[in-house]
Symmetry: C2
Subunit: 263 residues, 2 copies
């Protein structure tokens, strides 16, 4: 099975994209709702939570780990790669590669949580691939609560987005990385506010592409992932409320059975 974890429901956009691209591979998802949000927590705490989450996924039979949370990926990927004996893929790498590839002017914007922006991981890794690139980042801490409230088309959400995106727009970026798995749900509002010519990199979609490519390159692992008696994708959360169920259903376009576990 492919094991995917996130701080909450946002990573389900990644699970959904992987499900669509690799429909024959069973998934196990863990959303750490009880300890969400990760974006405002310290690096030490994030590493500890990420290790708890991986322990759980490995115990469920995961043989490949996907860190679907940008805040965790920006802070805990190295620690997890040392901690685990199975491969660990993170949601940041494919978005970095894609952004470096598609930008024409090399002026690249990144939006994310406070933890992701503070880590400077996107700017460091994009400029490692394209040294002449200039990366402009903006922390957008209110977007996660707005998405979790379902305020996807409210005037207030549009105003807050305009305020957050304004500095990136002034920098005339030609590419914008949606560096948080909640943000694809706001794609329709982000597009017109950053400018219709700006290419949006949806980390969920590029992550699914990376999983597919990684398994093409590692056919043995692909076989091990398929070698399970589990036929249905499984979704676990560390806490559950009505809003969580609604958001999961909105992302998948179908009701999702969420099982609550205590880590």
């Amino acid at each position: 099975m492919i094991g995917i974890f996130d701080s909450g429901v946002g990573g389900m956009t990644v699970a959904r994209a992987i499900e669509q691209l690799c429909p024959d591979l069973p998934l196990v998802y863990f959303g750490d709702i009880a300890r969400t949000p990760y974006g405002s927590k310290s690096p030490e705490t994030l590493v500890r939570y990420a290790q708890n989450n991986v322990d759980f996924l490995l115990a469920q039979g995961a043989r490949l780990i996907v860190i679907a949370c940008n805040s965790a990926a920006s802070t805990a990927t190295d620690a997890l790669q040392q901690y685990c004996t199975v491969p660990v893929l993170d949601v940041i790498t494919p978005a970095v590669v894609k952004a470096a590839e598609v930008s024409k002017t090399g002026r690249i914007g990144v939006i994310g949580t406070r933890a992701t922006v503070r880590s400077r991981i996107y700017s460091e890794r994009i400029t490692a691939l394209r040294p002449e690139a200039r990366v402009f980042s903006a922390a957008c801490p209110l977007l996660v609560p707005l998405v979790e409230e379902g305020w996807l088309n409210r005037r207030e959400t549009k105003m807050i987005l305009r305020r957050y995106l304004h500095p990136l727009r002034r920098q005339q970026v030609d590419t914008l990385v949606l560096g948080c798995t909640h943000y694809p749900l706001l794609k329709q509002l982000i597009g017109p506010r950053i400018g219709s010519r700006v290419k949006l990199i949806d980390s969920s979609v590029v992550m699914a592409g990376q999983v597919r490519d990684f398994l093409v390159a590692h056919p043995d692992l692909r076989k091990r992932l398929q070698n399970t008696t589990v036929t249905e994708n499984r979704f676990y959360v560390s806490d559950c409320t009505d809003i969580v169920e609604e958001t999961a259903a909105r992302i998948f376009g179908r009701p999702i059975k969420l099982q609550t576990v205590e880590l």
Copy 2:
């Protein structure tokens, strides 16, 4: 010592009010930043977290527990009173008594997190005291993140407040309970939007009054609280970031030394 806990920094408004009213009594504060926010979590999870927090405060020498978090108080007060051998006071009771007392028309509004409003605790307890009262509640889940971002005077915050308060204003409440310890920081914005004649009940202030009254009624306990070698108030958090330190300093009007502990 008086032990105070909250889901994060909001409860520091309670600690500050108690410090001002009972300056001779040492306090120990615990803010569960690593697991904040409580307002979106399930009742089972909240009870478990509240018990962890109380265990920590008792181990620090607390002989009186103050639940400064409305979400925890609405859900876990009964469980904690059975769990503890020391008295447990909650932030809801004094606000209920005050609202029932000061309202002239009996039309009372309550704003709080989703967990607090879902619990229906304010409406049940206000109508238990004043059966003819009508209580109108509104969940305001975005206010906590807005306060934690320091967006205390932004246009977006005002618009969101107007949207949240509009139904209560239409019901012509004459009293509004600020049923979350973050909300006193928004008092200046709430007043004009709910109407200048509406009395605002600040749960931090009434909570401090209740602690003082409880200790007047229990002088032995008051002596036990004073009987400690600790001279400075202590502030613990389960995680710490710059924003947390800034918010604490804003509430107390002085820098606060925060010690990080892992529960």
